[in-house]
């Protein structure tokens, strides 16, 4: 019989992996459409968490209002991020410059710069210390299932993430905007020729991806009860690792790898101190880059 402790770690790993998956989807969507890495994605996560925190401390809303406001702030953050850090560098809209190297590197650096500015601005406004979430909003009421003790947060994170994943799948495969996102990520120039508004599609991609990131931020914030300006950095890297492992532009791949990452990380804390657990993600990243340069699921060439 499996030790209940491991089952418990498995459940924690799954909910951790789900938040990574939400983040990784944002990375993957944006990479699919623009072929660039959005280094400011971790700050969207932080912004989502802070939006929820501000709302909680101002009024006493129900938890779904908190998640809703985080989503709204995430959408706004995604929109302005695209306008500030990506649009100015897309001076020409032909395919060559849409996916060119100069564009890739300048947006990489500009999103990095924007992420620094956002993080430092948050630090000036809220201070760099951890802010704790009021007790009644913490989602860690224990729930006992047989020998395993879980907390409500595990279920809420899993539920919200699952709903968002299904929603994303619906959006991508059943709606016009999803169709145009897939078209642009497949072939930007071709999409332009058939009359798709590439600019609008790119913005929509940022909005959708950032909403997912912001949801991950507020859920993690409520789960651990600590919100601070630098909180987006580590999950950002983890989500990035998941994306690379999944093969850069495959959403199912990214989700599966995010879950693998979350589970192996929570399992690793059984054997080593929690300070070293970040090592797992970096180790995975290096091993993937060396041995599976296409990612674990990249060979299928599945795009968005």
């Amino acid at each position: 019989m499996i030790d209940p402790y491991y089952l418990q770690q498995l459940a924690i790993g799954l909910s951790l992996g789900m938040t990574y998956a939400l983040m990784a989807i944002g990375f993957t969507l944006i990479f699919g459409v623009l072929n660039v890495v959005n280094f400011a994605h971790g700050e969207v996560y932080t912004l989502g968490a802070f939006a929820g925190l501000v709302l909680i401390s101002a009024t006493a809303p129900p938890i779904f209002a908190v998640i809703f406001i985080a989503l709204a702030i995430g959408a706004m953050a995604g929109f302005s991020l695209e306008r500030i850090a990506f649009k100015p560098f897309r001076r020409f809209t032909d395919e060559a410059s849409l996916k060119s190297r100069a564009m890739r590197e300048s947006t990489l650096l500009s999103s990095l710069a924007v992420s620094i500015v956002v993080r430092e601005a948050l630090e000036i406004v809220f201070g760099s210390q951890m802010r704790s979430v009021p007790f009644e909003y913490l989602i860690n009421t224990p729930v006992r299932i047989g020998p395993v003790i879980l907390v409500t947060g595990d279920f809420i994170i899993f539920g919200v993430a699952a709903v968002m994943l299904i929603g994303l799948q619906y959006l991508l495969t059943r709606t016009r905007i999803g169709l145009s996102i897939r078209a642009v990520s497949n072939n930007p120039l071709g999409a332009k020729y058939v009359g798709i508004d590439t600019d609008r599609t790119i913005i929509m991609t940022f909005v959708v991806g950032s909403m997912m990131g912001a949801a991950a931020g507020i859920l993690t914030g409520l789960y651990y009860g600590a919100i601070f300006p630098a909180m987006g950095f580590v999950p950002g890297i983890k989500a990035f690792v998941a994306m690379v492992m999944g093969g850069l532009s495959s959403i199912p791949g990214a989700v599966i790898c995010a879950l693998i990452l979350g589970i192996s990380e929570s399992m690793a804390t059984t054997f080593v101190s929690s300070g070293w657990s970040d090592m797992v993600a970096y180790g995975f990243l290096i091993l993937t880059l060396i041995f599976f340069p296409n990612g674990l699921f990249g060979a299928r060439r599945e795009r968005v």
């Binding site: 500015v117 601005a121 970040d278």
Partner: protein
């Protein structure tokens, strides 16, 4: 090939700017520092010098070889920790630890580079980020070896073969000399045939490969050398401040160094120096208005990418400057010899 064949300017003129710079660094600045005589100014000057060395070493790998390096501060940290541990555990002095910390940083970079140098563009950037973070985690969590977040107090100051150089002015001169020598070496490396080979990798690695340039080896060499200089900077930092902790070598420091190179102009050594000066001195100057150091870094970086994509002193103008200054030593398409210094 005879030098007189070239219509190059006379040699004397070529030395004017380097001489003026040397005068400024070794006579003008120390005189000013001694005039004000405040420890704070000495500290700023030394800090600026160390970051000039860091940004120059990053220029070699990111600017010239075109590899986006996101873990440079970790190698700086490896150098600093090597110096600190050698001097606290074995009582070695600065004369020994300075080269050793460079060598250790270079060795680690070489080992790391062996598997990762096949990677290109964003994959390389992410791999260096992961490596930098791994080294940072080791510094932070291997408490028995590195003392973890408490940091290490380095009691030995700067010295040269037993002569103490721990006075304010002596410290400044030591740091300035080491930095000047290293920057000179980096300058010769990046403005030579060798530098041109690195530039060819940056422009088109497949083409360079096809032309017979060994790209993997050159990338590895550039990466290792840049880590060597970063290690030297780390050793200077450890002995200069007397206290190091993992916080000095975290990701945001890597980004700060990257911002210096980007703001100054990718591929231009004078640009890297100017960028380092700007990003160290500007936040210090604005300290009176509150702690805006990091937000300034972000803003300056963003504005310079947006408004000055080539940087403050771009590569082309830097190369023209170098060519004018080095006059006769520069060879310009002489019977199949290519362009650069011999």
């Amino acid at each position: 090939m005879n030098v007189s064949d070239l219509s190059a300017p006379p040699r004397g003129r070529g030395l004017l700017i380097p001489l003026l710079l040397a005068l400024l660094v070794f006579v003008g600045l120390p005189a000013m520092l001694a005039g004000f005589d405040r420890g704070y100014f000495y500290q700023i000057a030394n800090l600026a010098l160390i970051f000039i060395l860091l940004s120059a070493s990053m220029h070699l790998v990111t600017g010239v070889a075109g590899l986006l390096h996101l873990g440079h501060a970790a190698f700086y940290g490896v150098g600093a920790y090597t110096a600190a541990l050698l001097s606290t555990k074995f009582g070695l002095g600065f004369t020994v630890t300075l080269p050793l910390s460079g060598v250790v940083a270079a060795l680690i970079a070489f080992l790391v580079a062996l598997p990762t140098m096949r990677l290109v563009s964003i994959y390389f950037a992410v791999a260096t980020l992961a490596i930098g973070q791994m080294l940072y985690l080791v510094m932070l969590n291997w408490v028995e070896f590195t003392k973890g977040p408490n940091g290490i107090i380095v009691t030995k100051g700067l010295e040269l073969f037993g002569f103490s150089l721990s006075g304010r002015l002596a410290t400044y001169y030591t740091v300035a000399t080491v930095v000047a020598l290293c920057v000179l070496a980096i300058g010769r490396l990046s403005h030579s045939y060798y530098g041109n080979a690195l530039r060819s990798i940056r422009e088109d690695d497949q083409c360079a490969d096809a032309m017979g340039v060994s790209t993997a080896r050159l990338k590895m060499e550039a990466f290792t050398m840049s880590a060597f200089f970063a290690g030297v900077a780390g050793s200077l930092w450890a002995h200069m401040t007397g206290y190091i902790s993992p916080g000095d070598f975290k990701f945001s420091e890597s980004i700060l160094i990257l911002a210096m190179v980007v703001v100054g102009g990718l591929g231009s050594l004078p640009g890297a120096v100017i960028g380092a000066l700007l990003l160290i001195l500007l936040p210090e100057g604005l300290r009176a208005f509150g702690d805006f150091r990091n937000i300034m870094v972000g803003l300056v970086m963003f504005l310079s990418i947006l408004l000055l994509p080539k940087g403050l002193l771009g590569e082309v103008s830097a190369l023209q400057l170098a060519r004018r200054q080095l006059g006769a030593a520069w060879r310009n398409t002489v019977k199949g010899e290519g362009i650069g210094w011999r």
